[in-house]
């Protein structure tokens, strides 16, 4: 489903990814780990088609995420580590998501409800005015409602309280079939019940890749 081949990405003289190769297949839940600066976020952004590689390539179902970004991104849900300060209201953000990615608004409301996020009374509130936890819940609800085959979470539980984390993992369990789940995390114990593969990166290289 995702094929990364000999991917190298430099920023100036800094080598962020050093000839990384790996593949992710259906029904795999992967914990992507490593110290700060190991190259995890660069790898994720390359999968999303944000970076032009210095060499090597990424293919998602055989498609290049830079050249075929619309086709590729139809099938990817992404939640960043820190919710960005989007100034749109929640209603406008949902309008953006529903129109651009053909997402059912009712599904967003459903998953928001499951995450204990009271969306209906906050529809006209700016996204950036929500608390950190509420923002994260909203992004998670959108990611699940999008029904993508590939779900990428960059430290998704950083702002969530223990109850919200449990809700999140419960919903993921219900939605993981036939998907690739990619978690960037520093805390394996939190996702160990979900993941079946662990990749450790250091200095832009994959240093270990094992099934668990």
């Amino acid at each position: 489903m995702i094929k990364v081949s000999q991917l190298t990405k430099k920023f100036g003289s800094h080598l962020s990814l050093d000839s990384v190769s790996c593949e992710f297949h259906k029904n795999e839940s992967i914990a992507l780990m490593g110290a700060n600066g190991a190259g995890k976020t660069t790898l994720i952004r390359s999968i999303l088609g944000y970076y032009h590689p210095d060499s090597g390539e990424v293919l998602i179902d055989g498609l290049n995420p830079i050249k075929e970004r619309v086709k590729v991104l139809k099938n990817i849900s992404f939640v960043p580590q820190l919710p960005p300060p989007i100034k749109l209201s929640l209603d406008e953000l949902m309008h953006y998501v529903c129109t651009s990615a053909d997402v059912d608004k009712e599904l967003i409301l459903h998953y928001a409800n499951e995450m204990k996020l009271d969306l209906k009374s906050n529809l006209n509130k700016s996204f950036f005015k929500l608390s950190g936890g509420m923002k994260q819940k909203m992004l998670i609800a959108i990611s699940l409602a999008k029904k993508s085959d590939i779900i990428i979470y960059d430290e998704p539980t950083a702002n969530l309280d223990p109850q919200a984390r449990d809700d999140f993992y419960r919903l993921l369990k219900q939605n993981e079939d036939e998907k690739v789940l990619l978690f960037v995390t520093h805390r394996l114990e939190e996702v160990k019940e979900l993941v079946n593969r662990q990749i450790y990166m250091d200095l832009g290289k994959v240093v270990s890749d094992e099934k668990i």
Binding site: Y50, H52, L73
Partner: protein
């Protein structure tokens, strides 16, 4: 196409809620109100009176403040979104870069153009109620000139925004461009260059490629065909081509500049790392 309109619509809504838009609208609406309160329409200076006089003053001030307003408020649109990771999230949805970029431009263009246009409409309506003669030719010329000037600086702002990584740097570049172009209008450095006997071809070239100078000459040419208040370069320009052709040029040229810079900005945006 639906995504293009979606981006334009959301950018427009977001901009209208922003504080800068309130200030922006108040400045241009306030200018018109101030002119009426100050009795500009009743005054006669250098032969201009009534609404023509008011529109002339409005356009003179607009030459100076519209470009910097557009540059400052627009130059951060993409670089700012990149800075605070909004781009990273919003572009994780299946929207093409073309739709995102041009949608932003359309939304922002409506935001910056409508207040300056409506300020003129309000002036004309108020003048009509007061029984003043409405100078339609000037009104339509200024509508076209403001459209062209807004396009030029919007295109330049998006061009800067596409390659600058930090919004502070983008602001600095925008401010420099504004000062630079402002300095090269007829009554500033250009006059000094003439005094210093620079090559006339060079002086004319500098004047003709500056959208602010083109805008200024076209805006005042309807009032003062002899151009006694405009400066020597403007006089020479209008002496060497007909007023009609120059007015056409003054709309087409800045608009083309805007399109070219916006297009170059898009090419950079497409070729560079997005975040």
């Amino acid at each position: 196409m639906k995504n293009l309109y979606l981006i334009a619509y959301l950018d427009l809504k977001e901009s209208i809620r922003a504080k800068w838009f309130l200030v922006y609208s108040l400045v241009f609406g306030g200018l018109i109100a101030l002119f009426f309160i100050a009795g500009v329409t009743e005054s006669q200076v250098m032969g201009f009176s009534g609404l023509s006089r008011l529109l002339l003053m409005y356009i003179q001030i607009t030459i100076v403040i519209l470009p910097i307003f557009i540059l400052i408020t627009t130059v951060r649109s993409i670089s700012g979104d990149r800075d605070n990771h909004i781009l990273e999230y919003m572009l994780s949805f299946p929207i093409s870069l073309k739709q995102y970029y041009w949608g932003k431009i359309i939304g922002r263009f409506i935001t910056v153009y409508l207040p300056v246009f409506f300020a003129m409409v309000i002036a004309v309506l108020y003048g009509a109620i007061k029984g003043a003669a409405i100078p339609w030719s000037i009104f339509f010329l200024y509508t076209g000139l403001l459209f062209a000037l807004s396009s030029a600086f919007l295109g330049i702002a998006f061009f800067i925004s596409s390659f600058v990584k930090s919004s502070e740097v983008a602001l600095g570049i925008a401010f420099f461009i504004w000062i630079f172009l402002l300095a090269f209008i007829d009554i500033a450095l250009i006059s000094l260059m003439m005094q210093q006997r620079f090559n006339p071809q060079l002086i004319l070239f500098l004047a003709m490629i500056n959208p602010m100078e083109i805008f200024r000459v076209a805006a005042i040419s309807l009032f003062d065909p002899e151009l006694t208040v405009m400066g020597p370069v403007a006089f020479y320009i209008l002496d060497s081509m007909s007023q009609g052709i120059f007015v056409l040029l003054s709309v087409v040229y800045p608009f083309s500049i805007g399109l070219i810079f916006a297009f170059l900005g898009f090419k950079i945006f497409e070729k560079k790392d997005l975040v």
